[in-house]
Amino acid sequence: MADEPLVLGIETSCDETGVGIVRGTTLLADAIASSVDTHARFGGVVPEFASRAHLEAMVPTIERALKTAGISAKDLDGIAVTAGPGLAGALLVGVSAAKAYAYALNKPLYGVNHLASHICVDQLEHGPLPEPTMALLVSGGHSSLLLAPDITSDVRPMGATIDDAAGEAFDKIARVLDLGFPGGPVIDRLAKEGDPKAIAFPRGLTGSRDPAYDFSFSGLKTAVARWIEAKRNAGEEVPVRDVAASFQEAVVDVLTRKAVRACKDEGVDHLMIGGGVAANSRLRALAQERCERAGIRLRVPRPGLCTDNGAMVAALGAEMVARNRPASDLELSADSSLPVTEPHVPGEAHAHSHDHDHVHEVSKKNLYS
């Protein structure tokens, strides 16, 4: 349909410089430049390296996306950008570029929420989101269970990790096993050849008195590391494949169990899974199995759309345009701790309550103090 909004989206919240272009729910381009190789030798994302890489990659990635989409920037209906949450310095590069781009083209600017974008991206794969949608977002940066009655205006947190993100646990266990960074893909691969029942690792926060939808992976991480250490101290060989499989099983067991329970409790018949860990083959398989048993339809985008990318930002931006949500203004801040309850950041003229102390977080050195 020619009258669907044509939107360019910019994502720079972590280590991927992503620029996507969509028309409504159709993906036209998804250009990515990643600095993951730089971070690999440090075993995690170094914020200053990420910011430097975003600056270098920003304009070439925009130009590449436009070329792939075969459209003229003049025809865009809006520019969307991740306003937060994320690494402050990294977000700032994308937000500054998006503002300059929107201003130079005289197009509306939409500062959107990274987490809501992870949910909305599934529209590019499976069509319009059912309302409401339950979403499980799992990556190196987030582990959240969200209920989204309207992805442009109403996203409710059901639960989240109280310590490490799920992907972080994968990275840390990979480090203990000397498997390199990032840990997700290599653990997934090794786990296929291991026995998930070989070692009974703990399932965090699954007691009857524990919060029903929150997650904890810190205890699991410690238990796995101790188990490996004990083997090494005893001079025994570590069964890497079994450890990988048993650890992975503990993570995906808890994630899927809680997600399905949230769907049942809320009477939601759709579960969406997004974020980098959604690429994990065992998570996809177990979620499919449990959703089928519970009569829930599972929607998981292809792995390339699960990890951070510009297409997801464009997808949410297009939805903002389609639903006539107010645009952001040129004072838009990069907000490293943008709450998930704010799917987008409307301009001053439209903001109901504007908390200035909260908004000016860009100069924070990073998120970790």
Partner: protein, 217 residues
């Protein structure tokens, strides 16, 4: 000719339009924490004051630092994005050269800006148009002897009067001065720097504890 100059390498968020002869409009705000919020509205204001639209700009000029990184990148990515959309060249200039030019000093002197962490970014000049050597980053006490007897321009000098007794203004960068310098260079046909940051320091290559945590707790 219409130059749009921006510099966000120092606490000043500064924007100017220059027509090749003189500064047409300028905006400078000093707020080290809000470069991202202030720059685009300032561009809009300056263009409105001149009664012009962005597409009238023929050349972009950007201060490439040295400067604390987070703010510095705002000006650079903004200039690069404008350059891409407008299809006009983006010329890089050392931020310290703008302060030197603004000082108008005819003899030898130095420029110093605040590099935080008790250090300054600095460079020596033969005169206000001519830098002598590459900019550096050092503790004021470590370069006090080398610069003794010389006027030292900029906030980095004024911040450490015990090391720089001849500290003087201008304190803050002005995009008007940067644009005027660029206009001279364009007229002479002399070279610019690439529009990429002068970081000087190596990044802290440390993965923060609880890295990559982007979910609000």
């Amino acid at each position: 000719m219409l130059l749009l100059a921006v510099d966000t390498a120092t606490p000043a968020v500064t924007v100017a339009l220059h027509d090749g002869t003189a500064v047409v409009a300028e905006s400078s705000q000093v707020d080290a924490r809000r470069h991202g919020e202030l720059l685009l509205p300032a561009v809009d204001r300056v263009l409105a004051e001149a009664g012009l639209k962005l597409d009238a700009v023929t050349d972009l000029v950007v201060g490439v630092g040295p400067g604390p990184y987070t703010g510095l990148r705002v000006g650079l990515v903004t200039a690069a994005t404008f350059g891409s959309v407008l299809g006009v060249p983006v010329h890089g200039l050392c931020t310290l050269d703008g302060l030197a030019y603004a000082s108008g000093i005819e003899g030898p002197f130095a420029v110093a800006t605040d590099a935080r962490r008790k250090e300054v970014y600095w460079a020596r000049y033969e005169d206000f148009r001519t830098r002598a050597g590459e900019p550096g980053v050092d503790r004021p006490a470590d370069i006090a002897d080398e610069l003794s007897g010389l006027p030292v321009v900029g906030a980095g000098a004024l911040l450490y009067p015990e090391s720089f007794p001849q500290a003087r203004g201008p304190e803050y960068q002005s995009a008007g001065a940067l644009a005027a310098l660029a206009a001279e260079k364009l007229a002479e046909g002399s070279a610019f720097l690439p529009p990429t940051p002068l970081y000087l320091r190596r990044p802290d290559a440390q993965v923060p504890k609880n890295y990559k945590v982007v979910t609000p707790k």
